[in-house]
Assembly symmetry: C2
Homo-oligomer: 201 residues x 2
DNA sequence: GTCTATATGGCGATAGAC
DNA sequence: GTCTATCGCCATATAGAC
């Protein structure tokens, strides 16, 4: 029946998400995805005709987990200081619980940059409009590149630590997971201070 | 003769570096590496017994291109402000010319974190000593985590933009490469200002 | 050292029974 | 919807001539 169907499909998607996150598109094996889902390869191909189609579905699902919330915050009519603060909180909290996403996004964005920009295009995101909304948030007149630096600085400070987590945790904290978790929570405050300072907010 | 030998070997390594950078370990094909080197697969296996061995050689060679210079700067006896300034310049200049390295490092560090921490271990890098050297660079007494934030902030601001380059260039600059290059040169100044500001240097 | 040819295994995908 | 069995291809790696 229909509910059984979609349940199996969702189990496959969860399994695929885990494997693609861990191994990347090229490293992932359909067999491994099937194993983790507790089914066989044939059934996998019954629901998703190809590996690429499965991947695209997983990719869109992942983006949908945090992009809409983020866009809504950027477009909101609150002061720019609060916008930045909220975005930092959203990013750090979300990536703390889903630390595989930054790794996934960076790896696949370099493997196939058009998956990402097409996703944005298809969901109707206009980067130019977002940039102008942020520009208008400043009291004085600011240049476009000024705001782009702000965007990239925020993304860098929030995303990079998670992308590099395995090595940073190992090298700087000798693999101590509790220390790492505490450090990441500290980071919300640290990043906000840096950005408020840098942009006199 | 010996010089011919090592010349072929070096051509293979250059070729392998390009392909591994572009496609990652799993995406890279021995055939493609051989093609770009202008030889055949059999000869490739004559010089490097396995794909993994070839990869490890390339990886170490890449790390050797910028890690030593960086460590030397951190351990130097110059004021901390100058250290940070120099590190930012080194990173941005080097990655501008070798933009494949951040992508490569992030992808492979997540695929196999121990390649990286083993590399550091084998080259005798003591992260704890580096942290303490930086701590002593501040006039007032600072906590260890304070310096670790500084390190991660610097790495984030310098590395992330290159790791995300394909998407950022497409989404924020509509693929305009000249604008991107100009923007990256600006970034040296921007990053230094942010860090000097954040740490009252 | 460098080549052609081939072994060997694994992977994505399909056929077809139930 | 779910399974077993298998096809066809491609990738790494090796054998062996020159």
């Amino acid at each position: 029946m229909a509910s059984e169907t979609s349940q199996t499909k969702q189990i496959i998607l969860n399994s695929a998400r885990d494997i693609f996150s861990e191994k990347g598109y090229d490293g992932a094996r359909m067999q491994e995805i099937a194993d983790r889902a507790g089914i066989n390869k044939a059934l996998l191909h019954y629901y998703f005709t190809s590996k690429e189609q499965l991947f695209k579905t997983v990719f869109s699902e992942m983006m949908g987990l945090f992009i809409p919330h983020l866009l809504q915050t950027v477009s909101g009519s609150i002061p720019i200081r609060d916008k930045i603060g909220m975005i930092v909180d959203i990013y750090i909290d979300f990536f703390s619980k889903n630390s595989f996403i930054p790794v996934f996004v960076i790896r696949e964005m370099t493997n196939n940059p058009f998956f990402f920009s097409n996703y944005l295009k298809n969901t109707g995101v206009k980067s130019d409009r977002l940039i102008h909304e942020l520009m208008e948030g400043f009291h004085e007149k600011v240049q476009k590149d000024f705001v782009i630096h702000l965007i990239i600085n925020t993304l860098s400070l929030c995303i990079f630590p998670f992308a590099a987590e395995p090595v940073l945790k190992e090298v700087l904290f000798q693999g101590d997971d509790n220390h790492w978790k505490k450090f990441i929570q500290d980071r919300k405050k640290t990043i906000k201070e840096i950005l408020y300072n840098a942009y006199s907010l």
